[in-house]
Every structure is written in structure tokens, then in C-alpha cells.
Symmetry: C2
């Protein structure tokens, strides 16, 4: 791995809140950055307004930051390609991008949290499945986009089996307000970031029912136990789930007023139906498809996941939210 | 250990918010409950008003619940004695209560979170130190008092080396809204409950500085790493810190608007001095003395505790709060 060049050429695929935030962050660090979005008309509006009104309102996109909907422009000649595509669209975008990506020389980093429904694959698995062998890492953590965009202190984990790529990614993203830890457990980091959204929906349901911090803390800590259990069955290390990308991300998502997943749960706890809630949302809430994937993974690997099961039942089987929480609380007394 | 009798005689020593809540909870379960407070005049007011206006406003104390400031009445002939005395006063109360406690037959359970400043002892150590060999357990967890008092779902851990005592305590406290897990790691459960208050002060400081969920989640997860590290050096099990009484309690304390420790941090983050903040508080914030104990324990056992050190420096060494957070964020890049 070479040292970080003075002028890295970087592209960010995906113009959601997090993709846009990272593009601005990297531009401000002095790199040559291109932000790619799939919709021509929305990209045109981004270029004109220099604000991502839909996904990152109130944050200016600097003039020098290149914006495009052309995958060739976003793919060719890049040192680093940041993949910030919603999980269920990742594969489709990669297929179109593949001819333009220099798989020998570009480093790729996934910042997407989710599990593909059809294949139950993590994002790095989807990427390898489509692109073959590439220099690939993952960046994940408690990263509410607009907080980093406003310069509030934020941390994340750069995960990769190759320590050189980890160090490269640390160096690329780090700043005095964005602290990056390294971790070689890619499976654990990706699962933590994906599965926490399901627990966040559960915490939202509890909020919507009018319950307090005690209930939320219980859901959160028992939820982390479930996530770790499934993670270990899938080859992750237990301790990763206690770190920034596991526990940390889970906490942020469960407490932030900005978390879409927690919000969906809250609305359902108040008596709304999933379809009603999702219809009025502009953004994709990854926890909704991930609840299905997590439930299937748990069944397939015979891992006991009571909270995931109840969230799944509320979302997809029309189970009453209060009944679901009561069923969780009145399970047999047990050892922790 | 005998089975739970239909009419257990239970006393709760300590008429703070949590002691009062537990006394009401146990009374409502049908036990014969006595609540003891140290101040004659406040006890008289409790008996008259049947509301703990200072520590648990808005919650009625049922008529049948006996209230006293007489230690003989609270100590003699009890099946279970619940110790809910602030940590720095625990030893003094025990000395006075000792002649009235049937150490062969009564079970004792500590629900106090803290570490004695002078000796750096946990509460169960202080109790054994004063009373000798007793049947002793610990109850700890994410238990904001007024939430349980209002019937919101709550969980806690009953910890004891003796599984019979664990089961006894589970049976005594459990209800359909209060779920009790068992754990044999007394050291881990007590340290988790005590040290989290220091991290909560840190989270409050971050809130007071105007930072967001990302920063709080980072403090919380790196804080848990520190707590676990110290805990393991003191003989606790790592996994206890990922459970209800570790992570769970930490989360509640860091997010609840009702947490006194988080509140103190928030005021300091906004520029106030510790003395000013504490002067206006009716309740004791355990995290303030515990910050000193935790700092000393870390030094003594050579455990790296950067967050505890910064909180200690802000509280006791007049360090600037923003500088403390910046010093945490700009430490050398590292592996998680």
C-alpha cells in the first residue's frame, strides 16, 4: 500500500445524507472528490442549489466538489471509491459501474449498512460477488450524517482483513473531529451496523408505547446479546459488538431523534401500520428489510433472537406492538 | 434456602427515590414491608403526606406500607433487608443497624451504586466488612426509579455467588413489569453500576458543549471498554459489562433526562463549576465521589482510563471541558 498521496482522487457513489457528508468531509480535507447520484434530475438540482435539500438540508456543498450522474466519470482513475448505495440497490449499481472501476488499483470502501434480502449477504460479500477480488474495506460506526456535517465529534471503525488498507482508510478519513479506529473483523463490523437497525425499530416501538429509558436500555442490551450471538455464529468476534461499530452505533440509532428506524418503530408503537409510515418517508429505513434478513439468518443458523422475532412479527405479521413487548418481558426468568 | 413464604417480612433501609420505589413495589406484591429513613422529621412527613415529595414526587405510598426511623423496627425479624443507603453513608448506617440484624436468618441485598472513597470498597465489601458473614446479594440495573414506580417495563440483575440466594431474590422482586436476570459475578455487577455514573458525567459534559449522539455514543462505548478493563483487573467477568447491569445501566444513565449524573455533566459542559451545580441539588449524585474512586482504582491497578481521567480532571482539577473532549478525540489513531 502506498502512502497517502497529497491529492487523492476519490469518488462517492450515492448522494444520500451520509454519502454527501463524506464527500464534503473529504473535499474539505483537500482531496479531489466526485459525488455520484443515480437520478439525472436530482443531480442537476444538487449542482445548481449546492444543497442536498432532501437528504442533508442546511449543509452547503462546496463549489469545488464535482457532482455527476455519469458512472464513467465517477469510476475511472480513482484512488478510492466510497460505496454509499442503499443495500437493496448496491448490486444493481455495481453491475453498471463495473466496466469503469479499475479493480487492480482502486481501493473500495463500503459505508452501507444492510443485508441483501434475496441472498442474505453483507455488503462486502455483495461487492466481492459482483467485482471479484478487489482492495476492499468497510467504514461503519455511530455516524448521524448531519452531526459530522456540522463538525460535531464523531467516531467510526475502518474494517479490513488487510492492515495496510485499514491504515490507508484511517488516514483518508481522519480529522480532529472524526476519529477512526481500525478493526480486522469485517464480518462483525458489517453485522453490527446492519442488525442494530432492527433493534432500533424495537426501541422506537417501546418509545411509541410511552415506555421509558429502563425499557429502552433493556431492549438495547438484550438486543446486543442477540446480535452478538448471531454474529459469532456467522464468524464474527464477540468483542467487536461491544465496540464503536456495534454498541456505539446501536446506541446512537436508538436514541437519536433523527434515526429513521427508531422513528418507524415509534409510529408503529403509536398504532400506525408499516405501510402508512413508510409511504410518507423520503429516505430508506434499512431496518425494515434487514428485519426480514435478520429473522431469516437467525432461523437458518438456529440462533435464539427474541427481539428480532418480535420486531419481525410486528412489521410483517401484523402482531400487536404492546403484546410483543409484553411477550418479551414475561419470558421465563433466566440467567443473563 | 427456603421457598418464598406467602408473607415475607421485608425492610428497605433508605428512603430515597429507589428505596421508596422498591418498598412500594414489594408492598404491592403482598409482602409485609417497612421503609426506614434516617431523618425523623422527613419520616414524619412521609407518614403524613404518603408521598416522597423530595425524591419520588407524584407517586402515592400505600397506607399499609409501614414507615419508620427506628432501626430496631426496621432490622428485627426480617426475612429480607434491602440496603438503599447512599454509598458514602452505607458504613455508618450499618454500624448502627448491626445489633438489630439477624445475621443468621435475614437475607441482605444491596441496591446502592457506588464505591467508598476512603477504602475504594464496593458496597458488598463494605457490608461484609461491617457485618461479617451474611447471606448477601446485589440488585442492579437500568432502573430509573419513577419509571418502575409508574409501571413502565424495567429489568435488573440479581447477583450473588450463591445461586439459591439469586433465585430467592429473583422470586421476591419479579413482576410482569420488572424482569430480573440472575448473575454470579457480583464484582462485575457492582462495578458496572458504580462506574457508569462517571461515564454519564462525561456524556453530560458532551451534551452541555452542544455535541450530538455520535459523540455520546463514542463516549459511551469507549467508556464501557474502560470500565470492563478495570473490572477485569479487579476480578470481574468481561461479559457482565455487556449485559443489563453494565451496558444497560450505562445507556439509561447517559440518555435519561432524569439522571443526576448526566445533568451535573451537562451543567459543567455549559460552563458552570461543580460546587455551583451540586449546591442546588437535593439528591446525591453518586458519580461525583465515584469519579475520584475510579481514578484512584485505575492508577492503583495501572489500567488506562482516558475518559475517567478527563472527567476527574474536569471535576477536581478545574480542567476546561472542551479541552478535555478535544484531548479525547485527538489521541493517537489506534486499533479498537
Amino acid at each position: 500500500m502506498e502512502a497517502i498521496k497529497a491529492k487523492n482522487r476519490i469518488s462517492v457513489l450515492g448522494d444520500g445524507g451520509w454519502g454527501t457528508t463524506l464527500a464534503i468531509h473529504l473535499h474539505n480535507k483537500g482531496y479531489d472528490v466526485t459525488l455520484w447520484g443515480v437520478f439525472d434530475d436530482y443531480v442537476a438540482s444538487l449542482k445548481k442549489k449546492r444543497v442536498n435539500t432532501r437528504f442533508l438540508p442546511g449543509i452547503e456543498i462546496p463549489r469545488g466538489l464535482n457532482i455527476t450522474s455519469d458512472l464513467r466519470e465517477a469510476g475511472e482513475g480513482k484512488d478510492l471509491i466510497v460505496l454509499a448505495i442503499p443495500s437493496q440497490y448496491m448490486r444493481g449499481v455495481l453491475r453498471k459501474a463495473k466496466p469503469h472501476i479499475d479493480r487492480r488499483n482502486s481501493v473500495l470502501v463500503s459505508v452501507t449498512k444492510g443485508i441483501e434480502n434475496k441472498t442474505l449477504m453483507r455488503m462486502s460479500q455483495v461487492i466481492s460477488d459482483e467485482l471479484g477480488t478487489v482492495k476492499l474495506g468497510v467504514l461503519s460506526g455511530p455516524t448521524i450524517a448531519h452531526e459530522l456535517a456540522k463538525g460535531m465529534p464523531t467516531t467510526a471503525v475502518a474494517a479490513c482483513g488487510n492492515p495496510d488498507i485499514c491504515r490507508y482508510l484511517q488516514g483518508i478519513f481522519i480529522s480532529d473531529r472524526f476519529r477512526i479506529y481500525a478493526n480486522d473483523d469485517v464480518v462483525g463490523v458489517e453485522l453490527g451496523g446492519s442488525l442494530k437497525n432492527v433493534i432500533a425499530i424495537g426501541c422506537g416501538i417501546s418509545d411509541g408505547l410511552g415506555f421509558g429509558s429502563n425499557a429502552k436500555a433493556a431492549l438495547l442490551s438484550r438486543g446486543l446479546v442477540e446480535i452478538s450471538r448471531l454474529g459469532v455464529a456467522l464468524g464474527a468476534k464477540t468483542r467487536t459488538f461491544s465496540g464503536i461499530s456495534g454498541l456505539g452505533d446501536l446506541v446512537t440509532t436508538c436514541i437519536s431523534a433523527y434515526s429513521r428506524n427508531r422513528y418507524i418503530g415509534e409510529q408503529i408503537g403509536r398504532g400506525k401500520k408499516l405501510k402508512q409510515v413508510v409511504k410518507h418517508m423520503q429516505m430508506i429505513a434499512e431496518g425494515v428489510p434487514t428485519a426480514r434478513s435478520a429473522y431469516e439468518l437467525g432461523r437458518r443458523h438456529k440462533v435464539e433472537m427474541p427481539i428480532v422475532r418480535e420486531v419481525y412479527s410486528v412489521l410483517y405479521k401484523n402482531k400487536n406492538a404492546l403484546k410483543a413487548v409484553e411477550d418479551l418481558m414475561t419470558r421465563k426468568m433466566k440467567v443473563e
